[in-house]
Amino acid sequence: MIRLQGIEKSFGRHPMLKGIDLEIGTGEVVVILGPSGSGKTTLLRCLNFLEKPNAGRIRVGDYEVDCRTAGKKEIQQLRLRTAMVFQQYNLFRHKTALENVMEGLLVVRKLPKREAREQSVQLLEKVGLGGKLDAYPSQLSGGQQQRVGIARALALNPEVILFDEPTSALDPELVGEVLSVIRKIAKEGITMIVVTHEMGFAQDVANHVVFMDEGKVVEEGHPNRLFSSPKEERTRQFLKRITPDGVYSI
């Protein structure tokens, strides 16, 4: 279970998150929607302290931190329970696909090399890259790189995987392969929080949609309900802007 309470974050004087409360059950697939600048990505990055929140509490599984007082140890504990898939993939450029997945297992989890290798090979096969173990990121397409990124996140066996616009940097024809991998692991019951603009994906896969605007959660709920009969005017406006008429008339 993940619980966020009163998360606040500002960049300089500009408030980005104005007190976010959110509860996410184990195995839920949460999609965060919202216009750009609404703080979706910032919220995701606050969860593993790539941005340090100014205030609030974060609970991931059995571990809870107060953001104000969190030190190196607490941040490390939080990061061990989360994993992230980045918009720009951020694969380690000097390491092969296999080494990318193994890195965390070897360095952080301190697994013996053979075991780490076995697990990593399995995961790469799962994302359909069993034949690309020794390829460097520069030799892979964007879609393949992102699938390695997903395998790297899975390897850590985290409580939750954070997806930061995982398909935004991809060529349109490569989006499908990445989404289908995410779909596949969503079915396995891994908790995930996904920031995306893929409405179709949100509707098919998510069982919890959060709509954010101006650093606040405007509305949340089951996708069927939220897409068909949004309560808030701002949600309605947003949905109308990004989806053609009739698509979400369920």
């Binding site: 790539l50 490390q76 992230m84 980045f86 380690f92 450029r93 965390g104 360095v107 460097y136 030799q139």
Partner: protein, 261 residues
């Protein structure tokens, strides 16, 4: 007084000058070690944006990059003993080579610090974030992720720096150090064969530079093996279709097929 050009002198001079190659390489090696250490120290405050030290490091780098190496040599060789005399430290018996290595070391460190700063900063920020996201701490992220990539970026800059250093050591003879240039200049006084002596000297510097260049290129390739491969060498097939006149390709193809069977 000047003698006519005689190539046999070049052959004679080369081994003589080579006998002092060791001194030149000692200066290069010693100042490189010193320069890398001091350069790293000078780069750290700027990489980590430490308020006051950052300024100090900037001034330090500006000084050693902004004044001629020859003047730095004189300043340290004549100035440092004077300065330390005030503190009752006597440097009058210190070998010249120590001053020379110290000067070149400090000089190189300014460039090294810029090299380190630039190459570390050019590693994408996302790499560090990815390292943190898998649970690495700052030291692990730096040594395992940033440093190897920064090294690869730094090699070409380092190659420039090393070759420049090697050639700059030729100024050490102004303080009377018997390195290669010093030796060559003494040969000219001895024999009056100026051109031969300096030609020999040039050939030796060139040869050493070429060797260093090669080594560094191998190192660079090795460190950059993760970047997309350069276009593979043209295969015979593409060469044949491009350059052989029409008709001949057929003959080639047929014959090579026959050979295989």
């Amino acid at each position: 007084m000047e003698q006519e050009f005689d190539f046999t002198y070049v052959l004679q001079f080369i081994p003589k000058i080579l006998s002092t190659l060791g001194t030149t390489l000692t200066i290069v090696g010693g100042s490189l070690v010193l320069g890398l250490a001091a350069g790293l120290l000078a780069a750290l405050p700027r990489l980590y944006k430490i308020p006051f030290l950052r300024r100090v490091s900037q001034v330090y780098v500006s000084f050693f990059r902004g004044t001629p190496i020859l003047i730095q040599l004189f300043l340290l060789y004549y100035g440092l003993p004077e300065l330390l005399k005030q503190a009752d430290i006597d440097l009058s018996k210190t070998p010249v080579l120590v001053f020379v290595i110290l000067t070149y070391g400090l000089h190189v460190s300014a460039y090294v610090s810029e090299m380190i700063r630039a190459s570390v900063e050019s590693v994408d920020r996302g790499q560090v974030e990815a390292a943190y996201s898998v649970g690495m701490n700052g030291v692990q992220a730096f040594t395992r992720i940033v440093l190897p990539q920064a090294l690869a970026i730094a090699v070409p800059v380092f190659a420039n720096l090393l070759l420049a250093l090697l050639k700059d050591t030729s100024l050490a003879f102004t303080l009377g150090v018997m390195e290669m240039t010093g030796k060559a200049s003494s040969l000219t006084t001895l024999t009056q064969h100026f051109v031969e002596a300096y030609l020999s000297l040039a050939l030796i510097y060139l040869a050493v530079c070429l060797v260093l260049e090669r080594l560094l290129r191998v190192l660079e390739r090795r460190l950059l093996r993760h970047e997309a491969r350069p276009v593979p060498a043209k295969s015979f097939e593409s060469w044949r279709t491009k350059w052989l006149p029409f008709g001949l390709p057929q003959a080639f193809k047929l014959r090579s097929k026959g050979g295989d069977a």
